[in-house]
Amino acid sequence: MKKHPLWKYLRQDSLPHFFCPGCGAAQVLNFFLKASDEIQLDYDQLVGIGGVGCAARIPVYLNAEALHGVHGRTLPWATGIKLHKPELKVVIFAGDGDASAIGGGHLIHACRRNLDVVMIVVNNLTFGMTGGQMAPTTPKNVKTATTPYGNREEPFDICKLAETAGATYVARWSTVKPKNAKDAIKEALNHKGFSLVEIITQCPTHFGRRALSTGSPVQCLEWIKNNSISAKKATTADPQALESKFILGTFVHKEKPVFKGSSVC
């Protein structure tokens, strides 16, 4: 039987994967495999890092050096790896919790330092693994496991946060835009400096059922689609109409010296 051309990049003894049917995280794995294949990334020199949560499992399936379970501390690990061995390619698969809640403090500093790593933020707008609780990215007013009367907090815009903190490549796409998402990952892999690619993903199991009253992956994708707007269109749109929208596109792409340590002589 002929093997799929991307099969060689997978850690086969970790399969089958543990994602729910219709989960967007598995699509992100697919985007990454394609992007890395297109640039012929050397998996011997690749370190995939995942924290705790659904998206954190993605590197477990990569046939590369991999770390899993580093709850919110993906960037500190990455910092140690890159400072000691800068030739390695380090890619972090973070959920929105890893990126902006428990690991949020680390994110701003990694951006500020322009640490030369790729951070793919798989943003499903909720804490999926623990049962669909409110995340810092959960849209206002929606119901989650811990906001039964609607979310009273303002959500984070992770891309804006990264941009303001000094990241040198920042883009946002969604699982509705697979080609753009894959191309953004490719650009990030080719970029030298801190790259953040946020991908809005569907979580039919928790976010769908609690916030959108649907367990259907297709309806969740439609909801993402209907609430998305391109960065280009957003520049001329009414600011109020943009409030609860996912703005998709590339926000930052610039060169800056990368971080090599706090004391260099």
Binding site: S14, E65, V70, P76, T79, G80, H84, K85, H109, C265
Partner: protein, 381 residues
Amino acid sequence: MSKKENKIRSGTHFMLGNHAIVEGALAAGCDFFAGYPITPANEISQYMSERMPKTGGVFFQGEDELCSIYALSGASLAGAKAMTATASAGFNYMQEGIGYAVASEIPMVIVDVMRCRGENYATQSDVMQLRWGASGDHEHIVLAPSSVQELFDHTIRAFNLAEKYRTPVMVMSETTISLMREKLVIPKADDLDIVNRIKPQVPPELFVPFKAPEDQAPPLPSFGDGYRILHSLNPHDENGGIAWDPDVFEKLYYRITNKVQAHYDDIVRVKDFYLDDADIALVAYGSETRPARQAVRIAREKGIKAGVLKLDTIWPVPEKHLTELSKKVAKVLTVEMNIGKYSNEVDRVCGRFCEVGRVLKNRGEIHTTQEILHAIEEAVK
């Protein structure tokens, strides 16, 4: 302009304790340091920030202790000999990362310069935090230096043990000795005993990353060597695969703790002072061994047969040595600067064969010789 400096500054020095830790680390081959400022450990990171880049290593100041401890893990798996230094309150935050390092068997050295809560006064109050601070099952190795020379020597030893057993090793320092200046002799490079981690002797396709005899750690390749290892905090089988299986869990944590327990003779070190004919023994560690030894000298002059067992390794508990001691003397007194934490361990081990007692001080000051002498005199009345 960058100027290269020698990692090993052989010769005789008059040096600050915290600087001796740095020299010990560099002599052991440390090439990665990460830390977050905290008194009274600051001289370690400040001196590291000067020395490290000039000796070809990396100095990193994290945004907090969590970042620092995990940066160590990352650097260590990438092949570095990595160290951090902190003090009691900062050490709290690092426990999360230390637990991970145990589970994934990552060599690293952590220096804890103990201080009182909220103040930098003298204390030994972390003696239990050092042992039990991290979640999950672990068997920590903790060394207890008592002088500037020992800060240097024990730091080297900590690196050697960390590399050999693939586990975090802690150096328990104190305000008292870290901020003291004393004579330090740094040997010539050839006279230093330096241990490096064992790398796989087989190619990646034949290497089973977490397979080892039940009293050993497996060889550890570096990231980028082509072994493509999955490191997970979750229970993992010999291949590194995430597996929730009680047998896998039990076997993994048995090996992780047993690899330390089974090597008691290699890891545990104590020193005897006047114990040959002693009727009463003091058990002390760290800075408290200094007034304890002096008190015993004076007691001897007064005709009291007293001695000191100085614990250079406090974890694992030197049970064999303590048991042997308790069979020889009539009474054992534990001397420490806290509410009596390690005393519980000494009582547990020695209490079966002899009388036990405590000489405690918990007011930010080291015991005076007179205080300990008085306790000895009271005990033999």
